[in-house]
């Protein structure tokens, strides 16, 4: 109750509904999330069920062109799967990988950032590890790990572990972003007198870090999280495009784009373009929302 009252009294809702970019982005994102996670209920076909797929339906154009079929609203792909259903299922995979990777990044990054910001002895070593990590590009790590796993387990087994592996790769590659942000906040917070007051009481370091410093560093974490979710979804799409992401029988938005790319010059444009548009819209609304949250949390920028 107290929490609800706080929200009601805060400016959050007020400023949110005054900014059309904020609420339009939010509602688009909400619609995308709901349709992605409700895909088994709302999608007209199940692209994972081979019995419902007929190869004879392959490469049918969208419903509004002359050769289109009413059964397939946005046409079909090269295997005869309904584009709309495959995209919804694919978006669900993309979002799960994006959120999962960011969760992992945040978990590692927050712990490392807290430790290196508050316990100064650990700072040099932890931040150098982060620097080394950042000097490898995400794709390099992903290609290396992905290729190794494909060799070790074979392509068939790789398909089973593709989603968790992508979460692991993208999560591992980007944690230094969180570590640096959190560390910078911790360095600012630890000088404040409430931290000294906690030390005067005699609280342990762990409790001071967890109970006092961490809650006060979460605003920037929230801001970069939105950007990082968008980045992770893009990374996954890029890796899938390179053939190191989700397999064709369980496609994410990225692998859908790839699979259609071979046919784009033969006039079968819809297999690439529709998932492409969906990816762009998804990433765009997340970024717009992230920008809005950043501005809201930093009123100096916002109210000018």
């Amino acid at each position: 109750m107290a929490f609800l009252r706080r929200i009601q009294r805060s400016d959050f809702i007020y400023y949110f509904f005054r900014d059309p970019v904020a609420y339009i982005s939010f509602f688009i994102l909400l619609a995308l999330f709901v349709s992605a996670f409700a895909a088994p209920l709302i999608a007209p076909h199940n692209p994972y069920d081979p019995t419902t797929i007929d190869i004879m339906d392959s490469e049918l154009p969208p419903v509004w062109s002359s050769e289109g079929s009413a059964r397939f609203l946005l046409g079909t792909d090269d295997m005869g799967r309904d584009m709309l259903s495959t995209m919804l299922y694919g978006m669900r995979i993309s979002i799960i990988i994006g959120l999962g990777a960011v969760f992992l990044q945040a978990a590692i990054g927050i712990v490392v950032g807290l430790l290196s910001g508050y316990i100064r002895r650990l700072d040099a070593i932890l931040m150098r590890i982060a620097d080394v990590q950042l000097s490898f590009s995400t794709y390099m790590i992903a290609i290396f790990i992905g290729a190794t796993f494909q060799m070790m387990f074979g392509v068939a087994n790789y398909e089973k572990i593709a989603a968790p592996l992508l979460i692991f790769i993208i999560g591992l590659a980007e944690w230094p972003q969180y570590a640096r942000t959190v560390r910078a906040s911790v360095l600012a917070e630890r000088r404040k007198e409430y931290v000294e007051a906690a030390r005067v009481i005699g609280l342990s370091r762990l409790r001071i870090m967890w109970r006092h410093i961490l809650p006060n560093t979460l605003s920037p974490v929230l801001v970069i999280s939105t950007v990082q979710v968008a980045n992770a979804i893009m990374s996954e799409a890029a890796l899938s495009f390179l053939g190191l992401g989700m397999p064709q029988n369980k496609p994410s938005l990225g692998s859908l784009i790839t699979s259609g790319f071979e046919y784009i010059f033969s006039g079968t444009w819809w297999i690439t373009i529709f998932p492409g548009i969906l990816l762009v819209v998804l990433v765009l609304v997340i970024n717009l929302l992230g920008d809005w949250i950043r501005d809201y949390l930093n009123p100096k920028l916002y109210k000018g």
């Binding site: 107290a2 040099a124 404040k192 007198e193 409430y194 000294e196 007051a197 906690a198 030390r199 005067v200 009481i201 005699g202 609280l203 109970r211 006092h212 809650p215 006060n216």
Partner: protein, 336 residues
């Protein structure tokens, strides 16, 4: 040691190394690379005995080391040299666990009422935390009772325990800060400029509150301030610091009537007095950097009475009549 002495600070030295990483230690000068460290000498051999039930104020301008002294006494900074005793027990070299019982007896009130309360905790959470930590056996009801009691003591409605600090004014926050210190029933409170950030009319409220609490709870204060006029009425004794050294330590009345050290005199005359035309003793020049302390008396660069001896020899504290301790060659030689 005098049994009435509660806290004894002896020859305390605190330095801060601000060199940074090891690469920053190398200096290139005169064609040679040398390794050196940049050290801020914040407190240089300060001794004060604080007796049970009294208020000792430490006064000085920014950068004189008064806040560092306070934090070193509280164990927030380790001391480089010197000792701190609490009722004859040496506490500056204790481990965190050994120090725990003293944490409940010594508390601190901070300067900035906007930074000293965790913005993400309610007043109740802020006040419950120290009680739960130091008396883990207390049940929920007893803790709540105690929180309500200290809130009442500092003049805040106990019903406000669900509020957050940002809903309070500066003076109210400072009351909560004091209440937090009181929750563990301390005997000794270090107050680091507790009223410097407050408005005049609120300053008076907080000072009065602190004096009332001292009477009710038999508290001993070490009161840090940059403003001499504030400490006149609340302190029994006043110590004046300049650049990490103590210039003068005297009974409050004595210090305001007969300041001995030239710096104390300048500080006193600089206090703006209501309606009276300014007739203060002018100090020339700036405060030297605590990184390169001037040799001899640290005040000689701004002192009108400085002679060659002041520029070379560090003056020692000397007890003169009236019990005042003063560190000045001029006073010792009788020329001031």
């Amino acid at each position: 040691m005098d049994p009435l002495v509660l806290v004894s600070i002896r020859n305390l030295v605190k330095r801060f190394d601000i060199t940074g990483g090891w690469l920053d230690q190398f200096r290139f000068s005169g064609g040679k690379i040398s390794k050196e460290r940049t050290v801020v000498r914040a407190v240089n051999g300060v001794s004060i005995d604080v007796a049970q039930g009294e208020t000792v104020s430490v006064v000085g301008e920014s950068g004189c080391g008064k806040s560092t002294l306070a934090r070193t006494v509280m164990g927030l900074y380790p001391a480089e040299e010197g000792e701190v005793y609490y009722k004859n027990t040496r506490i500056d070299n204790l481990s965190e666990a050994q120090r725990q019982p003293f944490r409940a007896r010594m508390q601190m009130v901070f300067q900035d009422p906007y930074a000293s309360l965790n913005p993400r905790m309610t007043l109740g959470e802020i006040l419950r935390e120290p009680i739960r930590f130091h008396q883990p056996k207390l049940d929920k009801g007893a803790v709540a009772e105690k929180v309500a009691l200290v809130m009442e003591q500092v003049g805040i409605d106990p019903d406000w325990h669900t509020r957050y600090p940002h809903e309070l004014s500066g003076g109210q926050r400072q009351r909560i800060s004091i209440a937090r210190a009181l929750t563990v029933e301390p005997e000794f409170i270090v107050a680091d400029e507790p009223i410097a950030a407050l408005d005049v009319s609120i300053q008076a409220q907080i000072l009065n509150l602190m004096m009332d609490l001292q009477e009710q709870n038999n508290l001993t204060y070490l009161f840090i301030s940059h403003d001499l006029s504030v400490v006149e009425h609340i302190s029994k004794r006043v110590a004046v610091m300049y650049l990490g050294s103590m210039c003068e330590l005297a009974q409050a009345e004595e210090l305001f009537q007969r300041p001995r050290h030239p710096y104390t005199q300048a500080l006193l005359s600089a206090i703006p007095k209501l309606g009276k035309a300014a007739s203060h003793e002018k100090l020339t020049g700036d405060v030297p950097s605590p990184i390169n302390l001037p040799p001899g008396c640290v005040f000689h660069t701004r002192c009108r009475h400085a002679n060659d001896r002041c520029r070379l020899e560090i003056p020692q504290l000397l007890t003169v009549e009236g019990g005042t301790q003063v560190a000045c060659h001029g006073v010792e030689e009788g020329r001031l």
